[in-house]
């Protein structure tokens, strides 16, 4: 259970699925909710960005009140000792990226066929980019005799 300290409050934190949980100790009461979330992402090893590098948007659900906290709210005003907070991202699933050979779909829903050509809604092929596949890895390498050193 979270403990009260002289300098801040204690909280219970969970990710969406409840598979990751943490206790926050000494949360400064003058900190913002945004600061709380920012610190939790790092400590709980939650991703900050999507696969395109765009920042994910996380919301903090305050279980006691059943509402999402605003990032600018002050911890000492919005949260009580022992409150439970759930971090909830807006996050995408999607079939638009197939890196291997074969078809893929762009964001507009246009089909990219196996040759890399874009096929528009009228069935016309637009552009023919490089069709060669990415290299394939082969891990079974016999290490060279000379010893590598850590690059600086």
């Amino acid at each position: 259970m979270a403990e009260t300290t002289a300098t801040g409050i204690g909280l219970e934190v969970s990710d969406v699925s409840g598979q990751k949980t943490a206790l926050v100790h000494d949360m400064p009461t003058d900190a913002s909710v945004g600061e709380l979330i920012e610190g939790l992402l790092a400590q709980m090893k939650l991703p900050r960005n999507d696969v395109s590098g765009r920042p994910l948007t996380y919301h903090a659900l305050l279980e006691r009140e059943g509402r999402h906290l605003h990032a600018s709210e002050v911890v000492g005003e919005a949260l009580h000792q022992g409150d439970k907070v759930i971090l909830q991202p807006n996050i995408d699933a999607g079939g638009c990226r197939i890196e291997a050979s074969g078809c893929r779909i762009d964001a507009a829903g246009c089909r990219i066929d196996g040759s890399g050509a874009r096929v528009d809604a009228g069935g016309r092929r637009v552009g023919v980019p490089d069709r060669r596949p990415l290299p394939s890895p082969n891990v079974a390498i016999e290490p060279p005799r000379n010893r590598p050193v850590l690059a600086t």
């Binding site: 909830q88 990226r97 829903g109 290299p135």
Partner: protein, 428 residues
């Protein structure tokens, strides 16, 4: 978690000429979760109850290649402390495949590696000074966060009884499930409901959550993942190639779980690929051979699974709605820290979920061509096409919870990035 080593990938072209060294900063979390799962399978809650498996009690150590340091053949995750599992969990170099792939793409961009060629890589570990961790500690937040060990609810059960009568469906359409895999039990009813939703949302991706129980059989020293129901994801934003799960999606799912009152937990998620829409401009015979028709997880799908379902028992179910055949299902799960296709057991009906309502419909096993039955292919299950009338949606009750307050009118985004405002939210 401690790892007093810095890891690097050495890249070589097809002639074994060196292409250089790439320092990597692996995401160790899936490897740690894999190690925790192996301990959980062996010991049940004994270890978790004792606090072992906490992130602070896990150490990653290189496994040196026979050629000697700094070359490695893999690494091991070892629990430390008095109550630790004495058996370390070994992971192979396969864990570094994705890092090598990223390095290869960078080399292609730099013109050092040709597209279409084969490259090879080796992994190395170099000891680092204790100051390295101290530097990182200096950038931490001004409050303390204590990660807690995962303590999933485990039901004590006989796995043989649970699996009796269930049909094993292997990854790649083979006849047997990988014996080393954690068994997953999926009711046919869940597949039917997902197929119904995938067909109903024509041309738009849809999805939901998989909920159920974790069972432990002490006699067999094994776990079982039993999916009991799927909860359709509400408050999502979807189009032909994307499905955004919003904060409201998760809030409502939690409320529904609480309302069901069955002590179920989130075991994973499912979503659809509207392949018939993607490939509408292609003749059917080409669609059959298209990579899109085979079950795959995109980079976004994998990132979502990593972010939301990091525990190694979690699964991702994909429903591919193709024009030339029935809806096909592919299951993915964590294996050695990587998300890979896996098999499952299908149980007829779904008697553990009172209240779910779909009529019985004909089903048949896939008879895919042999070239699709390679090890990289997930388990595939096909369902008959839908009737014209849309089927009922959820197994879960629909009303909003009475306990928690209603959804907020204006949740506050934290980051400066865009809040996917471009898509229109769909509410069912």
């Amino acid at each position: 978690m401690t790892t007093p080593y810095r890891y690097a990938i050495l890249m070589f072209d097809g002639d074994d000429a060196s292409l250089g060294q790439v320092l990597i900063d692996p995401d160790w979390e899936p490897a740690l979760e894999w190690a925790r799962l192996q301990a959980l399978r062996r010991h049940g809650l004994e270890l978790a109850g004792a606090g072992a498996g906490e992130p602070s009690s896990l150490a990653i150590e290189p496994l040196w290649h026979e050629a000697g340091a700094p070359y490695i053949r893999g690494f091991q995750v070892r629990m430390t402390g008095a109550e630790a599992d004495p058996e370390p969990c070994e992971l192979s170099l396969r864990f570094f495949h994705d890092a090598a792939d990223v390095a290869a793409k960078r080399l292609i961009e730099d013109g050092k590696l040709e597209r279409g060629t084969t490259y090879r890589y080796a992994a190395c570990a170099f000891p680092i000074s204790p100051d390295h961790d101290a530097d990182l500690a200096g950038s931490r937040a001004r409050f303390a966060v204590e990660r807690q060990p995962a303590r999933p609810r485990l039901l004590q059960s006989s796995l043989s009884e649970r699996l009796r009568g269930a049909e094993p469906i292997a990854a790649g359409g083979g006849e047997q499930e990988d014996a080393a895999e954690l068994p997953v039990l999926l009711p046919a009813r869940v597949l039917e409901e997902a197929a119904d939703l995938a067909r109903t949302e024509e041309g738009i991706e849809t999805g939901g959550l998989l909920i159920g129980h974790l069972h432990h059989d002490p006699g067999m020293a094994e776990l079982l993942v039993e999916v009991t129901a799927q909860l359709p994801a509400r408050h999502t934003c979807g189009d032909a190639t994307k499905l955004t799960f919003t904060a409201q999606t998760w809030t409502e799912a939690r409320a529904t779980l609480a309302l069901r009152g069955k002590d179920e937990i989130m075991l994973g998620w499912w979503h659809s690929h509207p392949v018939r829409h993607w490939c509408r401009n292609c003749p059917l015979d080409r669609q059959r051979d298209c990579a899109l028709a085979r079950g795959f997880l995109s980079a976004d799908d994998r990132a979502l699974h990593r972010a939301i379902f990091p525990s190694a028992y979690s699964v991702a179910l994909l429903a591919s709605d193709v024009a030339f055949d029935e809806v096909s299902f592919s299951l993915f799960g964590w294996r050695q820290g990587r998300l890979e296709p896996r098999g499952f057991h299908r149980r007829q009906g779904g008697a553990t979920v009172p209240g779910s309502a779909t009529g019985s419909r004909s089903r048949e096993r896939s008879t895919r061509e042999s070239n699709e039955a390679d090890a990289e292919q997930p388990a595939i299950e096909r369902l008959a096409p839908l009737p014209a009338a849309p089927a009922p949606l959820a197994a879960a009750p629909a009303p909003l919870p009475a306990g928690p307050a209603p959804l907020p009118a204006g949740p506050a985004p934290l980051t400066a990035g865009s809040d996917s405002g471009a898509c229109a939210e769909r509410r069912r």
